[in-house]
Symmetry: C2
DNA sequence: TCGTAGATCTAGCGATGCTAGGATCCGGGC
DNA sequence: GCCCGGATCCTAGCATCGCTAGATCTACGA
């Protein structure tokens, strides 16, 4: 099937429709409601058509996760570029938490559900590398003498941990702001 | 059924057998292999018997999670008591990571799988409160002027984040040791 | 010894992810 | 214009899941 043909376009559209439907259903009703039959109904095709686009359910989660990572990257970048240089770590940390709160199902696809994505491995998708690059921009300046990449991993996981524990109700919500500010202060080592 | 009777004891034994079977299967084959039919086979009863002990599958995950939390608590306490005072934060942080690595399925039950446990809420199980108490013992001394409880939440979530991202292959494993050491250094604010 | 209450099992319901095999449609050669 | 072959799509079904209803069987007290 030559690229750019009508069939090719329709096929790509259908793939997008599946991903979008999965996102929408997951955000509104939770991931357990995202079933192959439900997706088929959303795109107005029969169930096996789904398997013409994705090998299995996990591949759909992975596709949504990739989309989420891309959006998270632009969200972080926007926050970084809008902030005064000395406020970049705060702004990006907050943007991370904001994103997770605004798109919990997307966040689940990225970090909680099994999605089969190879993050650290040799053939990690570019989207993942880009996202980490954005974190480097934000937090590498705080590394001081330490190894930058390691420092950024450390900072990211600290922010991530606070995000996931907070979102799952394991931390006191009323001090969320002060807790995140405290983390950034500690990371800045002022 | 009066407590202490033979029937009561047998019932309690069976409950324990279910929890143990769930743990064992989850550790050796992953949580998806833990099905009600499989558990029934393990305890040599028919499947509906499971529902005489647990309302649903999630309640079994919760029971395993509680068990895991208790074990994590003693693991952290042991590490704390064995360490020199100035090394307590390092020792406890490492113990946390060690525990997750040694019992990944247990850790999943506690933090990744839906278990319905109310962590932060008013009627959180005592086991959860005890576990957090252990974290307070370890990290509150680092709070300096800051609010202690908030500081401990911050430190815990940072360690937790590094643990979960590391275990799911999202951080470089070869620098795991230096990364955790770096976090503790930052938390100590030396 | 017998009747009843509780314990346990068999069987089944409505779902799930996923697949096989038949129908249908569409495009290119005569 | 027709016909044929391949791609595309659907119906139907398999095995398995969590969970439950109803029958059966066991054990204990009157």
């Amino acid at each position: 099937m030559e690229p750019g043909s009508r069939k090719e376009r329709e096929r790509a559209e259908r793939r997008r429709a599946i991903i979008t439907a999965a996102r929408d259903i997951a955000e509104s009703e939770g991931w357990p409601a995202v079933t192959t039959r439900r997706l088929a109904q959303s795109i107005e095709y029969s169930q096996p058509v789904i398997y013409g686009h994705f090998a299995n359910m996990q591949a759909i989660v992975a596709a949504v996760a990739i989309e989420g990572i891309v959006e998270l990257t632009v969200h972080l970048r926007r926050a970084r570029l809008a902030a005064a240089p000395e406020n970049i770590p705060d702004a990006v940390a907050w943007a991370y938490l904001d994103f997770a709160r605004a798109h919990p199902a997307l966040f689940d696809a990225m970090f909680t559900l099994p999605n089969g994505l190879d993050f650290g491995g040799p053939d990690a998708p570019v989207e993942l590398v880009d996202a980490f690059g954005e974190l480097i921009e934000a937090f590498a300046p705080l590394a001081k003498g330490e190894d930058q990449e390691t420092y950024v991993e450390m900072a990211w996981s600290a922010i991530h941990g606070q995000t996931v524990l907070g979102m799952s109700g394991r931390l006191r919500p009323q001090v969320a702001a002060e807790r995140m500010a405290m983390l950034v202060r500690v990371l800045k080592r002022e």
